[in-house]
Amino acid sequence: MMHVVCWFVQDLLSVLTWGTMQVPEVFLLSLVSRLLTQDRETNLPVIWWAFAGGLFWDLRWVGIPGFFTLNYVCVVMVVIWVWNTLPVSGRTLPVIFFLFWAAQVIPSVSSLLLPGRPVGDSKWTFFLVQQGCVVPLALLGVFFFVRDMKGRNA
């Protein structure tokens, strides 16, 4: 349910800021947050949440089914791979921040390739404005991660 809400929040943000900025990937942030905090059994639904969310995003905003579907699934797979490869001692806060941040960068950069998007310098303006919003969101993700870990260890 939380993923649906996050997807919808991202959708509303896109409506509100249409033509002015690229919105942060709130939906993907919720998926990554779940991957990092929940047990491995929940990874399979997350993959299909990414697939469904990406597909709906394509149908709503892009018109090319498969574009964000692939992006989101790729990001989720990369995060699963990195997270499971890392030893527990290597799962430090900077690494977690980097994972949250990277999850935002991959779809954002690839979306710059889409036809009909702003051209020239404004492409990078769109991207940079989004990144300005992403850093606080990534920090928020780290905060929730730390809070979740403390709750588990308590």
Binding site: V15, L16, R40, I47, L59, G63, G66, V73, M77
Partner: protein, 258 residues
């Protein structure tokens, strides 16, 4: 791990298939439209909010532009008014200079020393009754009678010459009149109007024949109350009424006497 990879690879394959095959799906446009229509209902508040904020932004930008434009026009208007005033003043000055004529005092009888004197300019020179006479740019009197080659000028110090005036600093109106003994007084000024020593006095717009703004002198003496709510001030004339050898007379023109 294997299950995750299998599911991931399946999802990626389906995604790739959709991406590659979507241009061939004719019904896809209908699905996209349907998704947009369905989501337009929950998105409606966001659309309204976006339009509202856009209108607000455009309104504030327009208002800011209009304010700037208004300020610019105000500034331009003030400059134009100054330029216009300068031009009008220059025009009046040029007109007055063209109408000014020097006259020599030819007679000043001892028994009417503070009342009148005669000048060597008359009807033939364009002098008519009522015209102002100056010394060093200050009003010294006005023409009281004219002959063909000479005129009599009634002095400011004469007790029968009354001239409407204004105190320039306070815009208070009064009447200047002489006492027949060399002094000039400002009368009919209501009490407690803030008139102070040194304030300038000039002719007022209410006069029918004298142009407004002709300097007369300044407040020089203490006030003396008349008892009826009015105060009389002593005026120090700008002109030397005791030493009059030559004066300037304003020749007749209909335009200045309007």
């Amino acid at each position: 791990m294997t299950r995750e990879w299998i599911h991931g690879l399946v999802a990626l394959t389906v995604g790739l298939f959709l991406l590659g095959a979507s241009p061939n799906f004719g019904f896809l446009k209908g699905i996209v439209d349907l998704t947009g229509n369905v989501l337009s209902v929950p998105e409606y508040p966001a659309v309204v909010l976006r339009n509202l904020s856009r209108d607000l932004y455009l309104w504030s930008r327009d208002k800011s532009d209009l304010t700037k434009q208004l300020e610019s026009l105000k500034s331009e208007n003030a400059k134009l008014q100054i330029i216009n005033s300068v031009l009008v003043a220059e025009q009046i000055r040029a007109e007055l200079n063209a109408r000014m004529d020097d006259a020599r005092v030819t007679l000043r009888e001892p028994h009417s020393w503070w009342n009148e004197f005669r000048i060597d300019r008359g009807l033939d020179d364009g002098v008519t009754m009522g015209l102002p006479v100056f010394q060093d740019g200050f009003l010294v009197g006005r023409v009281s009678s004219v002959s063909s080659s000479s005129s009599w000028v009634e002095l400011l110090t004469s007790s029968s010459l009354m001239i409407p005036v204004v105190v320039e600093e306070t815009r208070e109106l009064g009447v200047v009149v002489g006492d027949g003994e060399g002094s000039v007084l400002l009368t009919y000024i209501p009490e407690a109007r803030g008139i102070e020593k040194g304030m300038k006095v000039s002719t007022a717009l209410v006069s029918e024949t004298l142009p407004p703004g002709i300097p007369i002198g300044h407040i020089g003496g203490d006030a003396s109350a008349s008892g009826s709510g009015y105060v009389t001030y002593k005026i120090i004339p700008g002109a030397s009424t005791g030493r009059l050898y030559s004066v300037s007379v304003l020749k007749h023109s209909r335009s200045i006497l309007r």
